[in-house]
């Protein structure tokens, strides 16, 4: 899952990074972080469903996770 790869590439360049994922890819994300030498790296997992939501509903869901994103990017 390439967004994990991208996240690790940012970290390697000294840029704090995180990734937003869906539930279906949680195990893949955990594996990918471990395989790329960043075992335990945090991520933000959106609740199911995602793909079938309207854009407005997607905005509403996303609003609830911005704090978590910020916590993962700051000390």
């Amino acid at each position: 899952m390439c967004s994990v790869h991208d996240t690790v590439e940012f970290e390697k360049r000294g840029i704090p990074a995180t990734v937003i994922i869906t539930e279906a890819f949680k195990k893949t994300a955990v594996f990918q972080f471990r395989a790329k030498g960043m075992e335990g790296h945090r991520y933000v997992q959106l609740p199911h469903p995602v793909s079938s939501l309207t854009r407005e509903a997607m905005r509403e869901v996303t609003l609830r996770y911005v704090d978590q994103l910020v916590r993962q990017l700051t000390a």
């Binding site: 390439c2 840029i15 704090p16 990734v19 937003i20 995602v50 990017l73």
Partner: protein, 96 residues
């Protein structure tokens, strides 16, 4: 791979060299935030929303959005390098 068992075990050895977490800033005030959109459905609205909130509530200086070629491919080194020169933190979406 070799063992005392009389056959070869080709199981991939676990473990890679560790990558250290980049140092985190205390907060995002005045920072430039990079948002990497992998073109998966909903990634654009998710990142747009994140960018809006970061500007409104977290005092970030600027939000930079870039789009990848396709969600099933990693970003090119050139794209990551370009973003890394411009941003202080980054968020990738949507892993799925």
């Amino acid at each position: 791979m070799r063992n005392g068992l009389g056959f070869v075990d080709p199981t991939l050895a676990a473990g890679k060299s560790k990558v250290e977490l980049a140092a985190r800033p205390a907060d995002l005030a005045g920072k430039v935030v990079g948002l990497l959109d992998n073109r998966k459905e909903q990634a654009d609205v998710i990142l747009q929303t994140v960018g809006d909130v970061l500007r409104a509530r977290y005092d970030v200086a600027r939000v930079v959005i870039r789009r990848k070629e396709h969600h099933s491919k990693p970003a090119t080194g050139a794209l990551i390098d370009e973003m890394a020169r411009e941003v202080n933190v980054a968020i990738a979406a949507l892993g799925g």
